[in-house]
Amino acid sequence: MKKIILKEKYVSDDFLIVSFEFENPFNDNTPDFIKPGQFLMLKNRTEPILAKPFSVLNANSNGFKMLIKIIGRFTDYLSHAISGETFFYRGPYGTAFEKKLDLSKKIITIGGGCGAAPILFFNEYYYKNIEKTILGFKNDSITNLINIDEAVYESLTGKTVIDELNEYLLHRNKKEKPIVLACGSLGMCRALHKHSLKMKYQLFVSLDERMGCGMGMCKGCPIKTKSGIKMVCKDGPIFNSDEIIWEW
């Protein structure tokens, strides 16, 4: 794995924004280092703990930034790490969103929690393609970390991203069939899938599954699809929601 140095870290509640610098920019800084939808596997220096998958919020030739939710061992470790500490990454892995999306069309993007990260990255990369964006958070603690114009805070408004999307679609004045790209928990993606059937839009979901290798070898991150068992890490994380068999 390649060395990176933790440069900055901001914590608010259970969210974290971290930026890492490459140890070796010359080897890492190709412009297409990572594309929206792809992810990196991150590991700390000492524990023999599996590397964990994270999307990037943005990246450049010096390093990358991530939006991370503190939920367990690695993310908690990261939340206590200090500037200058060494970490390791490998990747990028996974299918870039652009490989499965028709970029001649406009897209509605939706993110739930830290699922906002790849969506914001996608929005930045393909700003011309964005029809509308909705990013849902439980509460507004995230505002201490970044300004997100498109954010919706459930605990304040009582509305989920699906409620917001529903409202938007009801008032939408376009003849093209809506295309939605969503990244969030399995629960959110499943609910969106049902909603997409009702509201007749095309839905792409970027899934979150526990990973082992992150690169398709270990068969650790399965999703059942109409064409058999697929691996979220390699065949996804983006899938056409019609392809997925949601109950297993």
Binding site: R210, G212, C213, G216, M217, G220, P222
Partner: protein
């Protein structure tokens, strides 16, 4: 088994094995991705993901649970089945620049016979019989924990091939008995060990995280247990082939296994942790031996008291 001086290579029954590092069955799949990430020709041997007669979906997610020093996995032998393996996968494996071990599993002797017969003529080096997957339901008493059934099955398989047959066991209390059954039926050796059973409970849902409750425990956490299995088996069986597997993530781990008596050393979890680990181990081993002016045969089995 003879060893050339000043390098790591192992000659075993006419097969030249570059070095003692073997990619263990499972974590690296069938090498499609790994071969694009590392130069497999620098590795000693490559083991296929275990093949079963019928196509198997494997278990529903989650399949990987993080614990201290390792993971609990519940893959459930996901594989496309023997027919597809022979058509789609084996040609690919045969063309890798690394000697291949094919891993087979079934709880029915006849299925193993069928698969083994077809494999006998192919360009593979060893056959590994996985008698110990913790993650599949068995319709009846498993072969792999009953010495009589092991003897019966291996005896039948022995008649069908001249290739080296290795039997893979989990770390069990009765390991010496099981190995005895396998060896006296004609197997050349054993792979020690598969994953012991482990469990984790999600305290929020209050349920086992894995749908099948327990899974297979892998990674550095199990090394003390699996290393002891290798040591105890080598103590009783001086001449068999042993692939020592369990928690190897660096050259020191590998050296411990070789000193305990493993001819070859398997890396499973380590490949998932970081696919470059097997090559790093080879490089570190080379360096370690060079620095000390030692070679493989000067450390092999050295932890055994004479």
């Amino acid at each position: 088994m003879s060893l050339k001086n000043n390098n790591l290579s192992v000659d075993y029954r006419g097969i030249n094995i570059k070095n003692p590092i073997v990619i263990a069955s499972g974590p690296a799949g069938n090498g499609e991705e790994l071969s694009q990430t590392i130069d497999l020709s620098r590795i000693g041997m490559f083991t296929s993901k275990t093949v079963t007669m019928k196509q198997t979906d494997g278990n529903p997610p989650p399949r990987i649970v993080d614990v201290y020093g390792g993971i609990i996995n519940s893959i459930g032998l996901q594989n496309p089945g023997f027919k597809s393996f022979m058509k789609e996968t084996l040609p690919f494996l045969e063309n890798l620049e690394v000697p291949v071990i094919v891993s087979l599993a079934s709880n029915y002797t006849e299925e193993l016979e069928t698969m083994l017969k077809e494999l006998d003529t192919r360009n593979i080096k060893f056959l590994e019989i996985n008698f110990s997957c913790p993650n599949v339901d068995k319709g009846r008493e498993p072969i792999g924990t009953n010495p009589n059934k092991i003897f019966y099955t291996v005896k039948k398989l022995r008649k069908l091939t001249k290739k080296t047959i290795l039997i893979k066991f989990a770390p069990v209390d009765a390991i010496l008995e099981l190995v005895q059954a396998a060896i006296s039926a004609g197997a050349e050796g054993v792979v020690l060990s598969n994953c012991p059973k482990g469990m984790k409970i999600d305290i929020n849902t209050m349920k086992p995280i894995l749908k099948r409750e327990f899974g297979g425990f892998a990674g550095p956490a199990i090394k003390p247990i699996t290393l002891n299995q290798v040591y105890q088996v080598r103590k009783q069986f001086k001449d068999i082939m042993i692939i020592g597997t369990g928690g190897v993530i660096n050259h020191e781990d590998a050296l411990e296994y070789i000193m305990a008596g493993a001819n070859l050393v398997g890396v499973g979890f380590g490949v998932m942790l970081d696919p470059f680990i097997p090559i790093q181990i080879v490089e570190q081993l080379e360096q370690w031996f060079k620095l000390r002016n030692l070679n493989y045969s000067s450390v092999f089995c050295k932890a055994q008291s004479l």
